[in-house]
């Protein structure tokens, strides 16, 4: 078995390279984590304290950044007065709903594309992904017209359908690759063991679980972070978190505190989802049942 050891050879440039990479990583970490940190901390500050900043260059006074009385007022305001409970639910329903539908339909389509030979298979496969080649904006106007005549504008099913349209091709492409990696012999063994075709498919589903997990994340993230569809197709009855947050920016008043709290509310569920599925993903394919 090949080992994953990286062979390091001694050279005069090595310490320099090491120092540079540490520096880069430090800057990069600061760059990515700082805005989230500021958002997180600010959401617990009242407005006056949130805008207390030390003078430029006065590193000694950085302490005032942490000198505040924690308050949940912004969160209370979000859920009690601004109806964010509904928006959170809409976001969850739209993201999970479209993810679930995409996984079910996607794995069936991917399975067929992986296992069955038929004429025009390559063309079909390409056509499926070609639906993702146009940017969302390009199809938004016709989609709006279609959705309006179908009465789907401003409804949760409409939003789920819109996300599914965009997630499904992706699901089929990702999952087909995973199905291709599962030896057909395992299904054949299941069928000889007494399973029907569908039971055999269920038998191998755990083997494509990492693929399903990876796809779920992408699918949920796409829907969760989407602003364009949500603001146009979901506008009104199916408002999700991003457009709701955007509405906190009003001409006469930008509600910074609530915006920060809304940012936290939007970020935290995805953070947990990531942690949850990461464990699942690293479990990886348990290979070795079939001789390579």
């Amino acid at each position: 078995m090949a080992s994953l050891d990286i062979v390091e050879n001694r050279s005069p440039l090595r310490p320099l390279g090491r120092a540079l990479s540490i520096l880069f990583l430090a800057v990069f970490t600061l760059w990515t984590v700082l805005p989230i940190f500021v958002m997180f901390v600010s959401s617990f500050k009242d407005l006056l304290q949130a805008f207390q900043l030390p003078a430029v260059g006065d590193w000694g006074a950085i302490g005032i950044f942490f000198d505040f009385d924690p308050t949940l007022a912004h969160y209370y305001n979000l859920f009690a007065n601004l109806n964010f409970g509904t928006y959170l639910f809409n976001s969850l329903a739209a993201a999970l709903g479209s993810a679930a539908i995409s996984v079910v339909l996607g794995s069936m389509a991917a399975y067929s594309l992986s296992r069955v030979e038929f004429r025009g298979k390559k063309d079909l496969f390409f056509w499926i992904i070609s639906t993702r080649m146009a940017p969302v904006v390009a199809v938004l106007v016709p989609l709006y017209a279609i959705f309006r005549s179908a009465g789907l504008i401003g409804t949760l099913p409409g939003l789920i359908l819109a996300y599914t349209t965009f997630n499904l091709p992706f699901a089929i492409w990702i999952l087909k690759g995973f199905f291709d990696n599962v030896p057909y012999a395992i299904e054949e063994a299941a069928m000889v063991d007494g399973a029907s075709r569908v039971q055999a498919l269920r038998e191998i589903m755990p083997l494509v679980a990492p693929g399903v997990g990876a796809f779920l994340i992408l699918c949920v993230l796409f829907a969760w972070n989407d602003y364009l569809f949500a603001s146009i197709i979901g506008s009104g009855g199916a408002k999700t978190l991003p457009p709701a947050t955007r509405e906190l920016v009003q001409p006469q008043n930008i509600q910074w505190g609530s915006i920060m709290a809304a940012g936290v509310v939007t970020t935290v569920p995805m953070l947990f989802l990531g942690l949850l599925i990461r464990r699942y993903l690293v479990t990886g394919l348990t290979m070795g049942a079939v001789r390579e």
Binding site: E188, A189, D193, P206, V290
Partner: protein
């Protein structure tokens, strides 16, 4: 248990013919090996029996039941795959239990049956492991366990031990044969290894390029091959072939080659005459049926030839000696261990006249 009969079965992949007009009967409780090189149609045949491949034309019967249109799950067969095809995410116990679970058997019944099958294969201590944690031989046992756990009508083996190392393979040959004798289940075993076929099977079906060449007991296949192809494929080291001509001198018929001539026995001559032969023939003789001695003689006489040693290969119990008769013609001889001879040394080869085979040079059909 059931007998299996394959009647006029053809298999096409698109326009490519894989199996041609195959007729084969497998008696109840017997062990049939389908032997042939890769691409000869043996695996296609097995997969048609399993229901994993569509039958292009013809019929397959298990007992009195025509199974052409039955799904694999309804054929009551068990199959061991070349690559084992274990479920990688399930433990050994669950792998073996799977066919029973699919039949909704009770938990106690499953536990007792799995334990019994595992005991037979000595893999009970592996129950909690996953396939990735097993060695090749253990995986193979688990795959067999999954097959025997539910007393099917027919066992199908698709080169199950081809990927094991030589020593383990030899061991498993005996184990599998013993297991089959113990369970008395009709077994069809596909292999490209003539050693496996000869050592395990009740009967062997030899296939080549989609066509069944010969069906017979291992003894028949080895000693009475019906054509040159079977003769050359079965046997290790392979049979020697020498292009000869038939010559008659007085009453006697001779097989003549520039470097030797062999008189035919009366019976051999009769078999030859009845086949109305052309004078161009091909002599086949196994390395075991040749005797070798060092040195040279003025006239070796009938049934013997002079040659020069090309190379000697000691292989433990025997020595294989490659002898050059003429510039193009070599003969491989199996002789005693410790045979001594350098490359280029003269030697005398003597044929065992009763053990020679003669084939038509045109069609390859055996005269005897």
């Amino acid at each position: 248990m059931a007998s299996v009969s394959i009647r006029s079965v053809w298999k096409y992949y698109g326009k490519t013919m894989a199996v041609q007009d195959l007729d084969l009967e497998v008696e109840e409780n017997s062990f049939l090996c389908i032997l042939g090189p890769s691409g000869c149609g043996k695996s296609s045949t097995l997969r048609m029996l399993a229901g994993l491949e569509h039958i292009s034309s013809g019929d397959i019967f298990f007992g009195d039941t025509r199974v052409n249109d039955l799904a694999p799950k309804d054929r009551n067969i068990a199959m061991v795959f070349e690559n084992y095809a274990l479920y990688p995410h399930k433990s050994v116990f669950d792998n073996i239990a799977n066919p029973l679970r699919l039949r909704n058997m009770s938990a106690e019944e499953i536990a007792s049956r799995v334990t019994r099958a595992a005991a037979m294969l000595q893999i009970e201590h592996l129950f909690d492991r996953k396939p990735a944690q097993l060695s090749g031989g253990q995986k193979q046992r688990v795959a067999i366990g999954r097959a025997i756990v539910r007393e099917p009508r027919v066992f199908l083996f698709d080169e199950p031990i081809a990927h094991l190392d030589a020593k383990l393979r030899a061991h498993m040959r005996g184990e599998l044969k013993h297991l089959q004798r113990q369970l008395r289940t009709t077994t069809i075993y596909v292999t490209h290894d003539q050693m496996e076929a000869l050592s395990m099977a009740d009967r062997i079906a030899v296939m080549h390029q989609g066509v069944l060449q010969q069906v017979g007991t291992p003894d028949e296949i080895y000693h009475h091959p019906v054509n040159e192809w079977v003769a050359g494929f079965v046997g290790e080291p392979p049979m020697n072939f020498v292009d000869c001509r038939l010559e008659s001198q007085g009453e006697r018929l001779y097989i003549a080659h520039p470097s030797f001539r062999v008189p035919l026995t009366a019976q051999q001559a009769r078999q030859l005459n009845s086949a109305a032969s052309a004078p161009d023939v091909r002599l086949g003789v196994r390395p075991d049926d040749l005797a070798l001695s060092n040195g040279s003689v003025a006239d070796p006489g009938d049934g013997a030839a002079l040659g020069r040693i090309f190379v000697t290969e000691p292989v433990g119990g025997d020595t294989l000696v490659d002898v050059k008769l003429t510039e193009e013609q070599r003969l491989l001889v199996r002789t005693r261990a410790g045979f001594d001879g350098d490359s280029g040394d003269p030697c005398v080869i003597r044929l065992n006249q009763d053990r020679i085979h003669l084939f038509s040079r045109e069609s390859g059909v055996a005269y005897f």
